[in-house]
Amino acid sequence: MSHQLGRVVSEILHQYFGEIVQKVGHDLFIYGTKPIPMIVKTTGLPRKQVVDSLRTLVKFDLVSFEPSFNEVVADYKLNPDNVLLLIRYPRYLLQIKTKFGSEAEILVEELLQQASCTASFLLVTVAAKYKDDKKKNITLVKLRDVFISIATARYIQQAPVADKSEVPSLEPVATIVPDIDIRQLAQAIATDTLADVSDNIYWKVNFDRFHQDFRDDIMVKAITRRIDENAGELMHLLLQNMYLTSAEWAAESNPTPVLDLRDAVDRADRTDCDRNLLQQYMDHYLRVLEENGAGFVVRVGEAGGGQYVVRGRDAATQLLLAALDHTVTERLGSKAARIFRLIRTKKYIEEDDIQKHAMLPNKECKELTYKLLEEHFISIQPMRKAASSGAMAKAVYLYHIKLHDVAQSLREMCYRALHNTLRRAQHTRAAHARLLDKQRRVRTIVHTMRVRGEPQQHIDDVEETLTPPELSTLKDVEARLKQLSAAQLALDKNLFILNWYFMYPH
């Protein structure tokens, strides 16, 4: 709950839900939990707008509530982490699209927009929306099948159920994959009576499941880059085995016997790796994976031909270290990165020794060390010597790296950068608001004209209302906005690794 986090959260709320929701959200961020009258008082907004904002925030699960001492009014509390997830929505969609195809993507997109809705409502709205779209050819049966498969794979889950009180407390429920009657739904679409088929089971997107996927992807990709595709495939199989035997985010998985793994390799049919090679040299691959796989996997026992453990916590730490090395290199140059790595390998090191081992000129080395210290990448630990020694050598200063603290400061940096990009995008959009609006209007007009089938010359006339200088500015603005959006997505990837690291207690 840092200052930087508050700024990011406020800026995101502004971009997604507008000024008023931002005010309410920021107020909640600053004061912690609050009832409505207090929010009204501090923000100075009319009560109706505060209620509207809270509805939005509660709907998208950005604010939670609990009964206050009075029991009929609620205290509201902002969940900043959930607000940050808004940036990650496109990534969820990409993930589900690559895994389950475009029907799943459409379903999840609709579900993200609705925040939570019933299965029948979801299917009927999506079907109705794409009824006229012949290109995609979306049928209700197909949608139903996809819905059931993503529900089985736990990408969507049942929303918590409320009890019947003034301030309901939401109880999470186990997800039961439903049995959906297609005929009833088809009838509902035909007769436009949706109310009859809707039940009271609400669904929402299970972000945690997506995060597990992201983690697996990162680990597999890391091993693939470090060793080769076959090793990556082996890592993938190890992770799949981990899901069967241990908790999803366990710091260390339960041991997997090699025999199980061999079965999995025999069964696996992936095209992107040479299966025969993997079958033949699996023991070698496992050895390489253990010795050179950055500690993702270790051998823990000999039973059953050897047992292997996937170490999530160590993987997160390794990835964090890689991210830190990268950040130091990009910020302060490769020489500073050398000093940083040196301090890390030596654990505690004196200033003179840094200079000796880093093989840098005295002055430059000191300058870089102090710069690292200034940017909170390294810490200093004074050690008092015995009183007998002279005034010259009062103390020894040992440089070292407090990984947890450095990770915190890296997270702060990410928040700050994210805030800056959001702010800059907001500024650009505001500066060119009129032009962007005009472009949007021209586009809609041209679109409707095309649909109506009007002659090309008229369409050209409308399009020419945007003058060449305007078009060139628009191009610039669009390129910049796109770059900023891409930067936000990249920052979010970094934040994901950091949050993964913080998930395990240190």
């Binding site: 507008g18 969609l93 927009q113 990009e330």
Partner: protein
């Protein structure tokens, strides 16, 4: 005692040797700059280019679509329109568009929301809870039990006049019981009143109160 009289800073200033050990030579520490640092300092190294593949393009587009959807939906809370006093021809159309959007209420699962966020929260709230003592039968029963207790107490008093201490304790206990019951009822009543009063929706919060409180001034 410790600072051998060198300089006013006590232990804060460094000796020449100490400064040298920090890498500062003679005459180097005088370069003090008085100007504030620039607001946008020059980047020392150009940042790496972002990777722009098809996946990123897709995600950017999806993100924009999602934001656009939210802006069109009632989830985007719009401020009340501010006018600058100039009447424009386009005002009418803008107002029409605004009204069309304003009428919509966010589509939520209302059971999962606190009652105060549900629409027409005020109307639902008017439910009169029955007071226990309104019922004549219950009232008469209550009175009877109380009477019985009183007579019992009196009997006790006449029978054991000597054991004053024990009896007093008894009496005290009874009294406490009675008091407890009364208190409970009182609390329940208080509860309903409190809730009812509280849910005056607060819109007319500072409209009339001030005038009432002040009273006439003579």
């Amino acid at each position: 005692m410790g600072s051998r009289g060198r300089g006013r800073g006590g232990g804060l200033s460094f000796t020449h040797e100490q400064l040298q050990s920090f890498g500062i030579n003679r005459g180097e520490n005088t370069a003090t700059t008085l100007a504030p640092p620039p607001l946008f300092p020059k980047l020392e190294a150009k940042p790496l280019p972002l990777n722009c593949d098809a996946a990123t393009d897709y995600m950017v587009i999806v993100k924009d679509q999602f934001i656009e959807y939210l802006h069109e939906s009632p989830a985007y809370v719009k401020p009340n329109t501010r006018t600058d006093g100039i009447e424009r021809y386009s005002d009418k159309y803008k107002q029409l568009a605004l009204d069309a959007k304003r009428g919509k209420v966010l589509d939520c699962v209302w059971e999962n929301m606190p009652a105060e966020l549900r629409p027409q929260a005020n109307r639902i709230r008017i439910t009169s809870r029955k007071r226990k003592l309104d019922d004549a039968n219950v009232l008469s029963k209550k009175l009877q039990t109380l009477e019985k207790k009183e007579t019992l107490d009196e009997n006790n008093a006449t029978e054991n006049k000597d054991e004053n201490t024990v009896k007093k304790e008894n009496e005290n206990e009874d009294d406490e019981e009675l008091e407890d019951e009364e208190e409970q009822e009182y609390e329940i009543d208080e509860g309903t009143d409190y809730a009812n009063n509280y849910f005056d929706n607060g819109e007319d919060y500072d409209e009339e109160d001030d005038n009432l409180d002040d009273g006439p001034v003579y």
